[in-house]
């Protein structure tokens, strides 16, 4: 192979190296600043600016400028990014605003099922995911009752593709994201069945690359967003052992860079949103790898639907659903460097009101949502049990930085997920025509 650098050329960094070093110098400048200031100022720098974030978020619910026109087909997403962030911060919006959200989301519903990006738009799997997650995050009878499970089920069936995957919308693209949004919605609404699940596992397995991560489509590059989607889906359909978990884990841990944050792909730049996509995937893997009793090979999920009595304290669901053995009351250590991730989020992504990708980029609601979600995952990463309260050592900065715990499979705050799970698993079974 030809050498890319010879004595005659002189030595020159590649574009990947240049971009990386530029970012590193910005990030380390910030970290050095932290080292050089007195402890009181350090605490202030590491503090989660709750009030300013809530203000930024609530403002977005009430008004968005004309530049948001490019998100006109994503308005349920904006609702979810904002309301989930507010929930993570342990806040809620007033009842009037809640009712307005429920009303608006229901106007995004298509008469044949599913939610579109706005009133009058075709239903789309991603906006359906966002709409359902929004309503569950609001919680309460009115919100949950507004979801028409039967119609959503028929929409999901229409989106099912012969490859085993799903189309995002009628005539739309098929990829791992579509699988996740469909299965996540079906699971959380307790409408998942054999017809929806068929072929999904094989499709996702075909998307795991030689690197170990998962791609959007078979053959494409391993990517953090799709890795989260693929892994979460495989867990939800109880087929996670069909993935090569060892190589997935290895790829994943190497996505955390010297900056402390995660990159989406090998040799690309860190981005705050991967705090959740990669950090959340790591949290899922951690629960799968939960330490086995002494002398035995680490516990695995079985393929045949899981036996509810196999593990102490496993969550029991209805027959059609996944039984995920979870080790209760165990302490564990995070697979990734949790303090370093929290440091990146608080010092590099956090701004006065909201979060951003990296220094030099502007804040937006998407990054606010996923930086906060990643922060929550990191804070709770020393426990496999959602009920246990993190010790002060788990939380970078003042303990008041502690967020609400999140269910990483759906990215919904745990309390709200539990309420919805209770509500929908007790709901009548769907009658299929």
């Amino acid at each position: 192979m030809e050498s890319s650098s010879s004595a005659a050329d002189g030595w020159k960094p590649t574009i990947s190296q240049e971009d990386q070093w530029t970012l590193e110098s910005q990030v380390f400048h910030i970290y050095r600043m932290l080292c050089d200031i007195p402890p009181k100022s350090q605490a202030a720098m590491l503090e989660l600016q709750r009030d300013s974030h809530v203000e930024y978020l609530e403002k977005g619910l009430r008004h968005l400028g004309p530049s948001f026109s490019v998100l006109d087909a994503n308005r349920p997403w904006i609702c979810y990014w904002i309301l989930h962030s507010i929930a993570l911060l342990g806040e809620s919006v007033d009842v009037a605003l809640e009712n307005n959200v429920i009303d608006f989301i229901s106007r995004c519903q298509d008469q044949h099922g599913g939610y579109g990006g706005g009133p009058g738009q075709m239903p789309h799997l991603a906006t359906t995911y966002a709409a359902v997650n929004t309503l569950i995050t609001l919680g309460g009878n009115k919100s949950l009752k507004s979801i028409n499970r039967g119609k959503i089920y028929s929409f999901l069936r229409r989106m099912k593709h012969t490859s085993g995957g799903f189309s995002m919308h009628e005539g739309g693209e098929i990829d791992v994201r579509a699988c996740y949004t469909a299965i996540s919605v079906a699971s959380v609404l307790s409408i998942i069945d054999e017809e929806l699940v068929r072929g999904v596992g094989d499709y996702i397995v075909s998307c795991q690359t030689y690197e170990g991560g998962i791609a959007g489509e078979p053959g494409s590059e391993a990517h953090g967003g799709y890795t989260f989607c693929g892994l979460a889906t495989m867990i939800l359909i109880n087929a996670v052992n069909h993935l090569d978990l060892a190589s997935l884990t290895d790829w994943l841990v190497f996505r955390q860079g010297v900056e402390g944050g995660f990159q989406g792909r090998t040799n690309k730049l860190v981005d705050g949103c991967y705090s959740f996509w990669q950090g959340g995937a790591a949290a899922l893997l951690q629960r799968l790898h939960a330490p086995a009793p002494a002398g035995s090979i680490s516990s695995d999920l079985s393929d045949d639907g899981g036996s509810p009595d196999q593990e102490e304290g496993s969550e029991k669901h209805s027959d059609d659903e996944v039984s995920i053995p979870i080790r209760r009351h165990t302490e564990t250590e995070p697979l990734f460097q949790s303090q370093a991730l929290q440091q990146y989020i608080l010092l590099c992504s956090q701004v006065e009101g909201g979060f951003r990708d990296k220094p030099g980029k502007s804040r937006d609601h998407y990054h606010t949502c996923y930086c906060l979600s990643g922060l929550a995952v990191a804070q709770y990463s020393w426990s496999n049990d959602a009920d246990s309260v993190p010790l002060p050592g788990s939380v970078l900065g003042p303990y008041s930085n502690l967020l609400e715990p999140v269910n990483p499979l759906y990215n919904i705050v745990v309390d709200q997920y539990n309420e919805a799970h209770e509500f929908f698993s007790n709901a009548p079974a769907l009658k299929h025509e």
Binding site: T14, D72, T209
Partner: protein, 337 residues
């Protein structure tokens, strides 16, 4: 006609649209996340809603979808409706390629644009091959890691062909930037998916990866590529003498030890017996604090990695605690003589 130029004529002033009444958006009395649309935006979408509901398929609607896409390329409903009209009118799809490219030049990070391009290319068939490969190359000249463009390029190769120059293209991209993981991924794609690929072999790809590693041992891409070549074939991997030789070279150079040690961890777990030189080289990089601990080489490697790769200390500890599980799986892969 674009809403961005000062000459934009409101649709309500256009005589050819006088028979259509725009349809207001059903946001309700108290909308949330309300967007302060410009007048142009509101008007274009109002007319779009009207023809979408009436289902009209005509040239004026085709042009209207172009306007609507121009002001919000993320509106998948408009794109889908555009496809319906293109089909109904049996439109010239070559012009459609230009339409997409112009949009891509403004902002190429958009799912809908790429999905549409794929739909058009599928309809044009093999005649579109060269154009699609050239188009993606233009995108890569600006951003050599563009995710959608790489997926599109792979789809083109799989469905329309054009493999002949692909490995050479990968070589060129890697010569430009050996850290370009998308190019490595594409290389793997060509080597494994090109039917009857004769330009290379497993041995020559292994050699290519090794040379790349030696050029820049801190580059993660070729290390993963090398492992990938032996996916599902760990036995052959362990048996290939060039691999421990590579690890030895890297360990001696003291540059980027973690990839070499990580690879040795896997190889030794799966049956590799390090020779004397390699064992010495491993000992030589073990930190002071754990030198002399009488533990087996796998434990020693994990402990070393915990110290020299602190970001992944927990992971290396996890590996150490699961060595038996790995070794048990590994033993199953080896022929016992």
């Amino acid at each position: 006609m674009s809403s961005e130029d000062n000459n934009w004529v409101p649709i309500s002033n256009r005589p050819e649209w006088s028979d259509v009444t725009p349809v207001a958006q059903n946001d309700g009395p108290n909308p949330v996340v309300p967007i302060a649309y410009s007048q142009e935006f509101a008007e274009i979408m109002g007319y779009f809603r009207a023809v979408y509901l009436s289902g009209e398929r005509s040239l004026r609607v085709l042009e209207l979808t172009a306007e609507a896409i121009g002001i919000n390329p993320g509106n998948y409903t408009v794109w889908q409706f555009r496809r319906v009209i293109l089909e109904a009118m049996n439109a010239d799809l070559h012009k459609e390629l230009d339409f997409v490219e112009q949009l891509a030049n403004k902002n190429s990070k958009n799912y809908q644009l790429w999905h549409h391009r794929r739909w058009v290319a599928a309809k044009l068939g093999t005649a579109a091959v060269d154009g699609e490969l050239e188009f993606t190359k233009r995108i890569f000249s600006n951003d050599a890691k563009h995710y959608h463009a790489w997926s599109h390029r792979q789809w083109v190769l799989l469905n329309l062909g054009g493999w002949e120059g692909e490995l050479a293209y990968c070589n060129q991209l890697l010569a430009d930037d050996i850290f370009n993981n998308s190019a490595w991924n594409q290389r793997y794609f060509v080597v494994t998916k090109h039917p009857g690929c004769v330009e290379t072999s497993l041995d020559s790809e292994v050699e290519y990866a090794i040379q790349s590693i030696l050029l820049k041992p801190e580059n993660e891409s070729p290390w993963r590529y090398l492992r990938g070549l032996y996916k599902n074939n760990i036995k052959s991997f362990v048996a290939n003498p060039t691999v421990p030789k590579l690890c030895l070279t890297v360990l001696i150079s003291r540059v980027s030890l973690m990839f070499a040690l990580g690879l040795l961890l896997d190889l030794i777990s799966n049956g590799l017996t390090p020779n004397k030189d390699l064992s010495n080289a491993i000992e030589a990089v073990v930190p002071e604090s754990i030198v002399g601990q009488d533990s087996d080489v796998l434990v020693k490697i994990c402990s070393t990695l915990e110290i020299i790769d602190p970001m992944r200390a927990n992971y290396w500890r996890f590996r150490k605690n699961n060595l038996y599980a790995q070794a048990a799986a590994g033993v199953a892969n080896i022929n016992i003589h």
